[in-house]
Symmetry: C2
Subunit: 480 residues, 2 copies
């Protein structure tokens, strides 16, 4: 009463049950005046410590959702506050009258744009959801991903009601940020004139933009980048990565990322860490989540090694075949990561961990077939030369296939808490025998798939399917 | 002021911005008195149509979330109202002051218990989420499912923070409802003394209980039950089914269910319709959602027919093998549904539809290998007898495998909008050749898996894996 007597317009009032406090929203310019009036009116109560003095909170804004038929079956408030909550917008005060024609919320000034966009999208834009992408790495995989996003944009809008907007792109040298989205037809020319890449700046810029539905995408194999995931996850930015380093790091670090993701409600997805776009981790998760128990996993997980041994024969040289695999993009930039078996070891490590095993990389037996001296080389050229020098060694491995009527496969196994990787000679009647090109195959033996395993098989390497797998993870995040 | 002068205690107040109405919460007994006072105080304004007369809304209750450190990073309001919204609890009024120590909401009396349980679970019970199941059908699959739920309860609680509670069980004769959950050790004795089964009563009882996180599970093959899904979906009860009838019904009906599910935000899951517990529909969904294009689907989808042709040889009779398959639980209760090919036709229909094709069952070419007279029989006994009479016919089909050095498989195909099912002779080098027991296999050729298909293979029939597949769908719903 005292306030209105003094001509201050009250925009909102709330008094929650039992709280013994009343909160009102007024114009900033009138705050001091209002405080004075209120404190004066309750002078006695304040002096006798019955009430606290009036407190002003500033840098706040009021947003309101107004409509005539808001009493629908699900309650607008649920939609509104879950949308705000999912986007990490803290609500300071709420007021909604029983006519449900207006829900008013007080939020921080800084969050207003994000909140309005979020609510606009949630309620008015025919449910087209905008996803904001921050992409690092535009080599083989990254550039394919950008192409796919560009080509699929119409499809995504029409069929899935999704709009993917690329806000930032970075390679190891330069980075660009466009708050309204980067034109994917000619990002290459733009990136040349971007800022120098600095991952800390990248994080703080992404954070500052404070956009809803944000996803950080790591297409690199960089250890440095993998260390940044937690910053994104903690700042309401989901993480999708084909980079295996984080999940193959110490168990402690792997679990920390999972827990941060759970705590902050941001997704951490890495389907492409094993088998590129094949649904391997997803399938394993479904098995475990539904209470099935993993008895064993037996798998061929190296597209590159499979390609190499499918093409290596008495008429060519091992080093030549390796070079071809490199040229086709089937190997990591450093082919030693594939040929030493370390890449496969990381993959079976991740599968073992996703099965519920607490296991470290060093616990995985690695029966390497590459001579020590080859692995010690320091450039790809040197490595290939060294393989050539050891041709006899490889021909000897090959010769056994003839006598045993088998094929060479690089197999990863996990059983009873023990994991190993290494060459095996595979006979005709085995599911692994007819594995073409760079295909991967995984056999899950579980409590429920005991007599015959559950098998997933298909292209497990190559930049196109890897990009598609990352794409699928982005969609998984988006549909959450 | 007038109200407090008359000694009426105001529990909550809200005035939202721009609404030009003020809402207060008071005790029911004082409502009429308060209205009189307010209407009197504003008599002039009401008579000059500046204000409307005071309106009383009854049968409402106030719930409040109170806490000292509620200003966490994500905003309590988001958690609170999304939990209420997801459980279909309509919020009539809200009040939250800026100290965020109390959020007060007005809801219908009828929803109070549900709301309190929902909020208690969401905020206090270490995040253990309670799922309420309404289960119809406790034959082969249903009884296995109940066993699995019973056995897994500790695991689910510890690892997934889920508590599955079975509220209702029904078979074709009797049904029981226990609001606090049915003891799964001895449900069989209880169901004998249950009420007579009546699906309309079942629906209305489930509705009336108005429990949060509800899932209706259909383990039958009944057409009548499949017609009830929309009632559940519209009443905030998710639907999980292994019954293929709904998805293989007219395209119109299939799409209607999808749209109701989308509109009301309740899940409609049917992974077990194709390949029992194998991740076939989920994988297809992921491919399509991520923008991949299906070129063709080639599959063996009948565990029973695969079992039958894997066991049929020159030394036994076709009718004997069919009887064994029935005894092992590999066929539908009526084996003609498998042997006529109609079951496989329904499955490829569902895969075609999930690929985006608008297609009807009648459009699927069915090259049946069972003589017309066998299909016309009216009991299982009669059917087996009729198969026995036609043994020559089946031996003739078998004889071709010897000459062509192949195996018989019942294959389903979908390509360019055309689908068909029928017997094929499969050669040694085909992925289908080594399909053991009752395994299923699906080959997805897509834009991205073009040179080699994406393959999923494994046990595709049997009550244990089907129950596990339903279980996985229940978990999928629960984790939403």
């Amino acid at each position: 009463e005292e306030i209105s007597n003094n001509n201050i317009n009250i925009i909102m009032i709330t008094q929650a049950s039992s709280e013994h406090s009343i909160c009102i929203g007024i114009q900033k310019s009138e705050a001091e005046k209002a405080k004075k009036i209120v404190d004066e009116a309750f002078k006695y109560e304040i002096e006798s410590f019955i009430l606290n003095a009036c407190r002003i909170e500033s840098k706040l804004s009021i947003i309101a959702l107004v409509g005539d038929k808001m009493k629908n079956h699900q309650g607008i408030s649920g939609k509104m506050f879950s949308a705000l909550g999912k986007n990490n917008i803290n609500v300071k005060a709420i007021s909604q009258g029983s006519s449900e024609r207006n829900i008013t919320a007080v939020i921080e000034e800084n969050d207003v744009k994000k909140a309005i966009n979020t609510l606009h999208e949630r309620f008015f834009e025919q449910n087209i959801k905008q996803i904001n992408l921050f992409i690092i790495g535009i080599g083989n995989v990254g550039s394919k991903l950008l192409n796919q996003i560009n080509q699929q944009s119409e499809y995504l809008k029409n069929k899935l009601k999704l709009k993917l907007r690329v806000i930032a792109i970075s390679n190891s040298k330069k980075m660009i940020f466009y708050e309204n989205g980067i034109d994917l037809e000619n990002y290459n020319s733009k990136i040349m004139s971007g800022d120098d890449t600095n991952i800390e700046n990248f994080i703080s810029k992404a954070r500052k933009l404070n956009l809803r539905n944000s996803v950080f995408v790591d297409n690199t194999a960089s250890s440095e980048i993998s260390k940044t995931y937690k910053h994104f996850l903690k700042n309401n930015i989901n993480v999708v990565t084909c980079n295996k380093i984080a999940c193959a790091d110490t168990f402690e670090n792997y679990i920390e990322l999972k827990e941060i993701s759970k705590k902050y409600g941001t997704k951490f997805l890495f389907e492409t860490n094993v088998g590129a776009g094949l649904p391997i981790i997803d399938t394993l998760n479904n098995l475990v989540n539904s209470g099935d128990k993993i008895i064993s996993i037996e798998a061929i997980l190296s597209g590159s090694l499979n390609y190499i041994f499918n093409n290596y024969n008495v008429n060519n040289k091992f080093s030549e075949v390796v070079k071809n695999a490199m040229d086709e993009g089937y190997t990591e930039p450093d082919p030693k990561i594939d040929l030493s078996g370390i890449d496969v070891a990381r993959k079976i490590l991740i599968l073992a961990r996703e099965s519920g095993e607490k296991i470290e990389l060093k616990n995985i037996t690695n029966n390497s077939f590459i001579p020590e001296e080859c692995l010690k080389t320091r450039s790809n050229l040197e490595f290939l030369k060294s393989l050539e020098d050891n041709e006899d060694h490889f021909k000897k491995i090959l010769s056994q296939t003839v006598s045993s009527n088998s094929k060479i496969k690089y197999v990863a196994e996990y059983k009873n808490g023990v994991a190993s990787v290494g060459l095996k000679y595979i006979n005709k009647d085995h599911d692994f025998y007819n594995l073409e090109g760079s295909d991967n195959i995984v056999l899950f033996k579980t409590e429920r798939y005991k007599s015959q395993p559950l098998i997933v098989k298909g292209a497990g390497a190559g930049s196109e399917v890897t990009a598609a797998g990352i794409f699928a993870d982005i969609i998984r995040v988006s549909r959450n």
